[in-house]
Symmetry: C2
Subunit: 361 residues, 2 copies
């Protein structure tokens, strides 16, 4: 059964990939008619969108759709796939805001265009050009995600039903992103505030709203779908928080060869995660001082990172976060077994929940 | 007659202002439920959107709607008003990309949040926080513009008819913005390339597409509206280029007290405009050298600026640009007199064309 669900998800991933490939090829053709200077924009966005990514949001949209018992058409898959372009916007702008150099082992978009500026010996400042390109490529990806949803070919009633969830999701995303950026400016970390950020950025944006979007495409009568929507929230919100907590652990303990990010990346970035807030709450004054001194420094050696890791583990925060993940996962799994979920979708939801919280990248 | 048109436009401006005010108040209420940290985001966006702006794009949308002979409802006005939030995104991201310090005499959004960071003695880098806030506030304004359009209350068929124009407009905007940023990296200016940028950023984004958006809300049958759409393009595209050319002139010769920008701003920014490309094409080698040396320098004195202005005027480029504006305006005005335009809208289109090209800010 689980293997069946895994096979279905792989198949949907491939369909999402193929729809994204076709959409981006069409956009490339169109932008080329405006000017050949836009080709590098298409190249960069194609590489960014097509060369990686877990396609989590389209898969959750698919699961939300399947929870109604219906099977998606190619038009529905295109609507699900649009979420990957929104995610491209979020990541491109995120890397710019964090001043991150790499994404999935390749230069971040702003660095890529900074490099292009230098290679082509263009006039002006290379870093300013790189930043501007990242702002605009993110904006373009956001507009494209909307455009792909609108032109997906779903029925008018399905599209109208999806628009309100879609807007809500995007407002929550931007609010969550701002809270996250704002959090970095706080004097000290807070478990509560970091949990709230996890709720908006991951609980809602990554999981709950994609599930709702999928369901809204299948059930266009809002009233008829309300109970299912509630169950999907009961599944999606805890799962999203658990997903973010796994991310916190990977950001500190993840294997660079698998995550595509430098070892201990969240330490170097001084990221305000739930894990870090719990660590500092539990740490002795001297351990807290040592950890805090390392946060946000990009000159840490491998042994500095190893030292911070040990200090974090010694506080018990890692175990507590793992326990929290287990509890949240178990809540999500019991929602997946509700009567409102069509039995055909149950294994899918279980497989997705497990892979989102047990993953290594 | 002209005074009637002017009165109508003032009235629509007020209605747009009032709809934007209500929308932003609702969003403030909603974001406050997520977290009080979002209040400064609401404050900044309200001040940015409500304290200024010519409302050109909503007015052109209104004119496109009126060209069908119909009168807009409050729902239509809300749909027109959504264009101001898109424009807020464009301006916030533009100021960030250009590293401009001010907008309409107040700190640009990235500077405003940089200042907040310092005033509140927040942790981390103030400039990085300012930049991140500008990225996210621009993104949020873009999503809000979509949301206001979707929730405007126009009929489902009107909304579906508007979505494709709206998407096309936003893709053209981002493409035009990229070409503009890219142009700054070119070794030497080009009249042709700058005219193409003017076509996308102003001809299409500022005028043609808002007109089409308005018309698409009134005539939801695409085929029935095609002839009107063509006439609106014949009016809007030359007018948009003329509008941009006026902007070029104001960017160099405008009165800071009226434009809200520093004197000779485009010289200090080294902006690649049609006016500048024409100037350098026509200038003697020594004048071109002197002008080029001044471009992009932010330490220019008032007399440096005056000197560059004289050099530009001496080439004859100012007169040529004024002639070009006159020619484009005359094309726009003859399209406004086409039989496809409902007579009730003619004076509106004429008034808008005149004010867009004869303005002093």
């Amino acid at each position: 059964m689980v293997n069946d669900a895994r096979g279905t998800l792989l198949e949907i991933r491939e369909q999402v990939q193929s729809e994204l490939t076709s959409y981006l090829a069409l956009q490339r053709e169109y932008l080329a008619t405006i000017g050949s200077e836009l080709i590098p924009v298409c190249d960069a966005l194609e590489s960014f969108v097509l060369d990686g990514g877990k396609r989590l949001r389209p898969l959750f949209a698919y699961a939300g759709f399947s929870a109604t018992g219906l099977h998606p058409t190619a038009a529905d898959i295109r609507a699900f796939a649009s979420l990957e372009l929104l995610q491209a916007c979020a990541l491109i702008h995120d890397d710019l805001m964090d001043r991150s150099d790499t994404r999935r082992g390749k230069p971040a978009i702003h660095r890529h265009f900074e490099n292009l500026h230098q290679e082509q010996a263009m006039s002006g400042l290379a870093d300013q050009f790189g930043e501007a390109a990242a702002v605009l490529l993110g904006d373009l990806a956001l507009v494209w995600s909307d455009h792909l949803l609108h032109t997906s070919g779903v029925s008018d009633s399905a599209l109208l039903s999806a628009l309100s969830v879609h807007d809500e999701m995007r407002i929550e995303l931007m609010a969550g992103q701002y809270l996250d950026v704002r959090e970095a400016g706080e004097k000290s970390p807070s478990v509560d505030r970091s949990l709230r950020i996890a709720r908006y950025k991951s609980g809602k944006y990554t999981i709950e709203r994609p599930l709702h979007l999928g369901a809204s495409l299948a059930i266009t009568d809002k009233k008829a779908g309300q109970q299912l929507v509630n169950v999907l929230s009961a599944y999606g919100l805890p799962l999203g928080e658990a997903f973010q907590l796994r991310d916190d652990l990977l950001g500190i303990f993840g294997d660079p060869a698998i995550t595509g990010k430098p070892a201990g990346d969240d330490i170097r970035e001084g990221k305000r995660t739930v894990l870090m807030a719990m660590t500092l709450e539990r740490a002795s004054t001297s351990a807290a001082k040592e950890i805090t001194a390392a946060l946000g420094r990009d000159d840490l050696t491998a042994s500095d990172i190893e030292n911070v890791r040990s200090l974090i583990t010694a506080t018990g925060a890692v175990k507590d976060v793992e326990d929290l993940i287990d509890g949240l996962l178990s809540n999500a799994l019991s929602a997946a077994n509700s009567a409102e979920i069509n039995p055909s979708a149950r294994e899918l939801l279980i497989e997705l929940a497990t892979s989102a919280t047990r993953r290594s990248h």
